[in-house]
Every structure is written in structure tokens, then in C-alpha cells.
């Protein structure tokens, strides 16, 4: 299965949800997806296009565009193509459906994106902080306008 046929198949199945698809090379393709239908698209990718390996899922903050992008990088165990799928959310109230029912290992990625960016995942089995202490929830440290970085308390610097 090559990159071209994957894009064609994806666009044929979801003409309204997939847009701005690009082919960077033979093994890297990218597309934007509508946040409402991300679970259906992921299920189709996994079941029909053998994209069974979620490499990672994370957020990128764009304060000047007032957007947060949630990026899914999905690979496969059968073919070498890697798909980069972006869902664009409003920065004020980012909410998206969880893909844990499709990709089991998205669980921790989503918890991390939640505590670092404040992206709220709907229907996530256990949405709570993963790497930060509970007190830091609500600071969203990886957003670009986070005030606590750089930390200036270190004294013994050489």
C-alpha cells in the first residue's frame, strides 16, 4: 500500500472531514481532520488501511492564531508510511473526542496533553495528571504564554 492510494482512499471515505492533504515523501503524508470525526477516521485507518501503530499524539500551541493543534502521528506494522493528522481546536476551550477506544496506548499521551496544554478529552477513561503534581494542574506549562519558565531560583550556578 503506497502513500497515494492511502490518501485517495481516505479522501474517498471522508470527503468532508479530511482536507489539506500533503505528500511530503513516499513514506510521509499529512492531512487535517475535523475534530468531531477524529474517532471514526482513526477507526477506518486502523481497520482498513492497517495503520495499527500510534507513534504519538501531542499538542502544539499557536497563540497568534489562537489555536491549539492536536497532532496524531500514526504508523503501521505492515507498510512504512507514516501519517501526520492534525486537528485544530480553539485555544480558549480546546475539547476533542478521545481516541483511546481505537488506539489503546493513546491513554497516556492524552493525559499528558491534557495537563501540559489543557486539551480536554471527552470520554477518556481516566483523565488525570500524569507527569506533574496535582497542584500544577491548570498552569498548562507547555503553552507559549506560560509564566513560570524560565525558573530563576537556582543559586549555585557556575
Amino acid at each position: 500500500m503506497d502513500a497515494n492510494s492511502i490518501i485517495t482512499s481516505l479522501k474517498g471515505k471522508f470527503p468532508d472531514d479530511i482536507c489539506d492533504d500533503i505528500m511530503e515523501s513516499d513514506i510521509r503524508i499529512g492531512a487535517k481532520v475535523k475534530p468531531e470525526n477524529v474517532v471514526e477516521v482513526c477507526r477506518y485507518l486502523k481497520e482498513d488501511l492497517s495503520f495499527g501503530h500510534l507513534c504519538c499524539e501531542f499538542g502544539v500551541d499557536y497563540p497568534d492564531r489562537n489555536e491549539i493543534e492536536v497532532i496524531y502521528v500514526i504508523g503501521s506494522y505492515e507498510h512504512p508510511v507514516v501519517l501526520t493528522m492534525k486537528a485544530i481546536l480553539p485555544r480558549d476551550n480546546p475539547e476533542i473526542e478521545s481516541v483511546v477506544p481505537v488506539y489503546w496506548n493513546a491513554n497516556w499521551y492524552e493525559r499528558e496533553t491534557y495537563e501540559l496544554f489543557g486539551v480536554k478529552y471527552l470520554n477518556h477513561p481516566d483523565l488525570k495528571p500524569l507527569v506533574l503534581p496535582k497542584e500544577m494542574l491548570g498552569e498548562w506549562p507547555l503553552r507559549k504564554d506560560y509564566k513560570g519558565f524560565p525558573n530563576k531560583t537556582a543559586r549555585n550556578l557556575v
Partner: protein, 374 residues
């Protein structure tokens, strides 16, 4: 995990400081008698915020930081980060530098497997094995040390090349060390195969089938132990891995014993790769000619764009997603570590096993907590 317990159940916390754990993480296990009913992994005890720090460092400074993501695979972390920038900026690496990178990355893989394997044996109470592997690991470490000048965190790769050439007599040193190491690996295999206690604690324990492993997103030795030949060096060749002759080591059982066996076989393959590289390595410049790379260039700007580059870490698939906005610092770097999904598989794997097998199963994943927390 549900926090409520019935009268016959109790919750045992292992960690964050636990002698049988390679780094701090906490495993909350709910027990009924000696059987684990449910469990949960808590992370983040050494979360350093590397992704945020990388956004505020220039590209050249970033190399030092990515070294410290996983201290046992510093070289492959660098390769993933440097590879991202090279893809974005379109830098061609000269062939000699590519060979040196492959040599160093495979050496790094050998030392990582030696430590992981030995540490694992010590988890099971087989401490003499740890002594043996550390003894042999020091020889490999001195080989790495002689090229990079550092034992753990090297900062060796540069955009378009490597920091230093191989020293004189490196080939002879490698030959000497590998002569000993080959015998040692055979000896380890023999020890593992004949030790009844070791076999009783590993064979048939923590079985992961291929379908489940794929579903859980596992990569690296735990996946290859189930029979899936998934290796980024073969599936998506980077550097000169295309020109080299090596095979992907797989086992079919998927249990703890198979995972250790895969690591033993991989060390042999790595030695084979390094010897080929040393025979084939061409002479030539370390950096692309007529470019500023390799010279003093404090400010380096990378064209805007996004790229995902992945390499084969000792523990599996290591990937970096980099967003560049055209300035001298990356806009966003996402680190996709191999242990992150592997550690997530512990709760389903531990369901229904006894307390004594927790250490056996958790240790066999060769977890590097630093990389999970970042």
C-alpha cells in the same frame, strides 16, 4: 484503578524508590492474597520538562539536552534530533560521518543491552550476572570514551557530521574487545539456559502475544520477542543501514526469557554491523564541503517546516517531531520515546500474576524512566 478495596484485598505501593526499579516510578498493585487483581503505574517522578527547555535553546544547544533524555541511549537520541534538523535543512551527511555514527550507535546499543540484561538478572537475585555484564560493559564504555570523550552523555553528533574522527588504532581496540565480548555473550547465554531458577522465573512468564503487543503499541525487543520483525533500521533505513548486512532478531514465545534472548542476539548482530562498518568505512571529510557546518556557527537558522524522524533505539522506536518556524530555536519538539508505550502495558500484563512476578515482568521491559518522564 479503582481505589476501593474489598475486605480480602489490599493495595501495595511499589516505589517510587524501590531497589528493583531502574528509575523512580510507582506501581500500585491491588492484591487478593498473592494474586494481582488490578494495577496502575504512576509516572512523572523525574519529569524535567525537556520539551519546554528545547523550545528555548538554540539548535546547537539542544544536542546537549537531548543526550539526557535517556542516559543509556544518548547516541540514538542525538541521532533522532540531529536527523530531524538535517531533514528540515536538507543537509547531506558525508559517508564517513554516517559510518562513524552507525559504529557509535551500535556500540551504544551493546552497552545499553549489557546493563539492561545484567540489571534484570540482579532483579531476580542473580547478582553475579550483573557483575559479569558490568565488567564487560566497561570495555565497551572505554571504546565509546576513546572516541567521544564521555562515558554517558556524549554530545558527539553535529549537524552534517560528527565531532571527531575515530582515533588511531580504534579498529584494533574494537577487535580485542569484541573477541572477549563474543565469548562473554556465549557464556551469558549458556548461564541463562542452564540456570534452573532463572528459567523457572522467566520461561512462560509475562507472555505477550503478537496481536496484543501490536495493539498496545509496543516496539523494540519486547515486540520482536513476539515474532514481529519490526525494526526501523530495516523498515525505514536511515544512515547507511541499507548497505549493511544484518538480520532482525526475533523470537516467537513472547515471554520474559525470549525478550532477554532477543537482546543477546542483538548484541551479536551489533558487533557484526560494527565490524562491517570498520571494513567498509571510506576516507573523506567529516562535514559536507563548502558549507559552514562543522565550523564555528553560533547562530543557525532552519527553514520553517515540520518533520517526523524516527530511529531504532536499544529499546525500540525513538521518534522526534519537530516544528520549526524559521528562527534559531525550534518552535516545538515532541519526543516519542519507546518505553512510554511499553511501560503502559504493565497493568494488563500484570493482571492475574503473583507478586513475585512483578519484578520479573516489569524488569524485562528494560524501562528507562527518565525517557518516559522526559
Amino acid at each position: 484503578m479503582d481505589e476501593t478495596v474489598e475486605p480480602s484485598e489490599m493495595i501495595v505501593h511499589l516505589g517510587p524508590q524501590h531497589p528493583m526499579m531502574p528509575g523512580p516510578f510507582r506501581l500500585n498493585a491491588k492484591l487478593r492474597g498473592e494474586t494481582i487483581v488490578d494495577s496502575e503505574v504512576e509516572m512523572g517522578w523525574i519529569h524535567k520538562g525537556i520539551e519546554k527547555i528545547l523550545e528555548n535553546k538554540t539548535y546547537l544547544q539542544g544536542i546537549t539536552i537531548v543526550d539526557r533524555i535517556c542516559y543509556l541511549a544518548a547516541m540514538t537520541n542525538e541521532e533522532a534530533y540531529v536527523g530531524c534538523v538535517e531533514k528540515l535543512a536538507g543537509i547531506e551527511v558525508p559517508e564517513r560521518s554516517q559510518y562513524i555514527r552507525v559504529i557509535m550507535e551500535e556500540l551504544s546499543r551493546i552497552q545499553s543491552h549489557l546493563l539492561g540484561m545484567g540489571e534484570y538478572a540482579s532483579f531476580l537475585g542473580f547478582v553475579s550476572m550483573f557483575m559479569y555484564t558490568i565488567r564487560d560493559r566497561e570495555d565497551v564504555m572505554s571504546l565509546i570514551d576513546s572516541v567521544t570523550g564521555a562515558r554517558v552523555t556524549h554530545s558527539f553528533l553535529r549537524y552534517g557530521g560528527v565531532k571527531d574522527d575515530l582515533p588511531d588504532g580504534f579498529k584494533d581496540d574494537v577487535k580485542y574487545v569484541f573477541g572477549n565480548l563474543r565469548k562473554a555473550v556465549d557464556q551469558y547465554e549458556e548461564l541463562y539456559r542452564t540456570d534452573d531458577i532463572y528459567r523457572a522465573r522467566t520461561v512462560g512468564i509475562g507472555v505477550l502475544t503478537a496481536d496484543v503487543a501490536k495493539d498496545l503499541g509496543v516496539s523494540g525487543p519486547p515486540l520482536r520477542a513476539t515474532g514481529v520483525a519490526f525494526d526501523i533500521r530495516k523498515d525505514e533505513p536511515y544512515l547507511v543501514y541499507d548497505d549493511l548486512d544484518f538480520k532482525v532478531c526475533t523470537q516467537t514465545d513472547g515471554d520474559v526469557y525470549a525478550r532477554i534472548q532477543v537482546r543477546l542476539d542483538e548484541m551479536r548482530e551489533s558487533m557484526h554491523i560494527i565490524e562491517q562498518c570498520l571494513d567498509q568505512i571510506p576516507s573523506g571529510p567529516l562535514f559536507p564541503e563548502d558549507t559552514p557546518y562543522g565550523k564555528r556557527s553560533p547562530v543557525m537558522r532552519i527553514p520553517a517546516g515540520e518533520v517526523f524522524h524516527r530511529v531504532e533505539d536499544p529499546r525500540g522506536e525513538m521518534g522526534f517531531y519537530m516544528v520549526s518556524d524559521g528562527s534559531d530555536k525550534p518552535y516545538r519538539v515532541k519526543i516519542r520515546g519507546p518505553v512510554y508505550p511499553t511501560l503502559q502495558t504493565l497493568p494488563p500484563l500484570l493482571k492475574g500474576v503473583t507478586v513475585a512476578d512483578i519484578v520479573s515482568i516489569a524488569g524485562s521491559m528494560d524501562t528507562c524512566t527518565s525517557e518516559v518522564d522526559r
